[in-house]
Amino acid sequence: MNTILFQLFGALATILLAFTVGMFYGGIRRKIIARIQNRVGPPIYQNFLDVIKLYSKETSIHHGAMQHMGPVFAITASITSLMFVPVLNGEGWFWFKNLNFSGDLIFLVYMMVFGSLGMALGAGQTGNPNSAIGVTRGLSQMVGYEIPFVMSMVALMAQFHTTSITGLMNIQVQENTWLMFSNPFAFIAAVLAMLGMFHYSPFDIVHAPAEVASGPVSEFGGKYLGLMMSSGSIFAFVKLTLFVNIFMGGAANLIELVIKTFALYLIPVLYGVTSPRYRTEQAITYFWKWPLFFGVIAILWASF
Amino acid sequence: MVISPVQYIAIPLMAAFLIPLFGKLNKDLARIIPGLVLLYLSYISVVLMNQIISSNTIIVEIIAGWRPPWGINLVFSPLTGFLASMFSMLGFVIWMYTYNFKPEVDNAQKQKFYVLFMMLITGATGIVLTGDIFNLFVFLEITAISAYSLTAFYRERDGAEAAFKYLLIGSFSSTLILLAILLLYTQVGTLNMAEIALKMPGVDPFMKGVILILFFVGFGIESELFPLNGWSPDVYTQAPGPIGAIFAGMVVKAGIYGLVRVVFTLFDVKEILPLLVIIGMITMAVAEVIALRQGKLKRMLAYSSIGQMGLVAVAFGIGTHDSVFAAIFLMFNHAIIKGMLFLSGTYLVYNSTEKTLDDVDGIGKHLPFTSFLFALGALAIVGMPPFAGFWSKLYLLMAAADVRLMTVIAIILVVSVIEIVYYFRVIHRIYFRERISTIELKIPSFNAKLAMFILAIIIVAVGVYPDLISGFIERATTDLLDKQSYIQSVLSVGLK
């Protein structure tokens, strides 16, 4: 009984951490972009305000059960993924232990997809063509970036003969190295793939506000949008933590975690801030050129 | 009445000449007599087969009191007996089918038809049963002449053209065989097949080769081997439907029997066997390929028939016990299955003049029974289980694998794919196209249905339980390959 309670509280703590960090990162990003574009920009806690506002708004219409469940799927996916990602190294802090011995990297890769598909289904039922267009773009782009990403994952797994995240983290602790140095090509491929994962410019055709009215979420408002935003923030944290865990030696404490994740976060934020966005097929072919090449090299590196 | 193999020849021949006479008495009698004759022949087949199988002997019938090698003799052995029985029984089924076939044909014509029909059966059975090589030639000519005439039976078709082609090639066949017999006679001085076989080792190899080649080409024409088979597609197409069944079931079977008897018993020259395999393969490949591109139903069946004969030739050519077994099984299967295809196919294009495949579109709804049997026959002939054709093909492939003839297996199977394609195409047309042709359909009479149904039952029964027939075929195979016992039992007759 006690353990279950502990686990529940631990899970809640992790979610809170992820939510907060994710929200702040989002705010910081808005600020950075504003500065680059020579604007003042909103305060970095703006995202919190937005979410609170959204939750407090009343939602008066819906288009059916699937729309109702779409955001739920999204938040389920991000929180569940979070549960299976170790937040800190080793035994870490038991609050953040969660379920990370129950799943492995491949499970996580699939779990992360769950959310986008669920959200896409929700968006689908609204009947808004913009949503559907956004979804097709998002899914197509996903095929592009998942391949180099998985290649780098496979390279790591092959190199160290483990498929579990904790296994990879332990190796880094034991050998006192970061995997981004053990297999640099895998890291490059993964980071390039991450650019696509975040849907930031220039890969932001999915919810290009000017063309498709924010794409998938265009028909969502109020509590739905709030849930989606929360899910997005948690998900950003999940992705960053995962990368830190497997490439950058994990983190011994929260400060280290924040520093490392933030450093990593700057890459997708700053990459191509000023560049025009890629069309979907351009994005796909982008990912299937250099990232793919690095992926292949990474696997070769791993297998010899 | 004493039962003896000579009745196979005497009775139908006599019936052939008596039919016009009885026809004068009562016009139905001319139609009934052949049936009675064939029924009786089937009956004596059962009795005689039973006799030779149970006593494990061969019946050698001496004609006119001269014992072999001087007189003509008939040999009722497991092989010849099996074929003769098959001919009689198939003949009976086909008679049943012809009984009410084309009621509009006038009576005199019908009488002629049955006269020729009886002659054909006499000839084909005679070829198989005789133990004298010249006698074999005579029966071959009886068969051929009646076959020419039957091919041209319908005046309104192009029967005469087909018959003339058949006659032209057939004359070459008979000339070559006659020449071969003559040369053979100069070498061994006898016409009795057993004695020829006995004396054969002493013959000059050059002459032996020439004679064999003459026989090969002569009988090759009758058994539809490529490139000697120019006549056959036309003949199958133009002859009356049931006669097509007889050609497939008897005439060419008798031809290939002659070929095989000469090669295996008389000469026993193993060098010719690869030639038989090669020719068989070419025959099969060419025929099936053409059948694939045929737009006419009967012509397609004809080419398919040629292809099957090629397969039989391949099987004989491999020359092992197993392959000969497969060959005889194939002959049996082809006789009943192709027989049924011709019988049912005839009704599918009964009133059509062109007999194209378009005429069978959607006919399944209108002639369900006939269509069903045709489909069954098509499945059987391409070797689909659980029908008879499956086993013979399987045995052949097994025999070929035993002697490592992988190329042969490959070609047979490739050709089988082609076969499947064109037969299934017809089935598909029968059942799943809309009928657009306005040609009036002919519902088969009851006896025709019964005839087809009997064949279908045999096909399924043999397919589900091949042991039904494989015992006889096994005996026939042993009989064919055991030259010594053939010579001995023929020559020892009457020596007591």
Partner: protein, 120 residues
Amino acid sequence: MNEFLTISFYGTAIVLMLIGLYAALAKKNLLKIVIGLSIIDSGLHLLFVAVGFISNGTAPIFSPEVLESAQQMVDPVPQALVLTAIVIGFATTAVALALVIRLYKHHNTAAIDEIKNLKW
């Protein structure tokens, strides 16, 4: 003399067969083809007789006088065969001619290369 006779028998037979063959294979007219076939037959029949022929031989009838000189008897079998063969040849020719008539009525021509309704 005897040899010459034998050779001339064989020679004639073979020449006849070749002539017939030529007619059957090269002539376009149906009748000529039938005649060619007949000539082949005749040649073959002659060959049969030639094979059985022994010069100065006697008829193959067993009688007391010839019993001791059975070697000198003409072989009776080919003669018997040739009789049968002639009958068969006759029948074939008859059928052939009947067919030619039918074909001529049907196609209004006797040229074999124009009678090609059935092909492929």
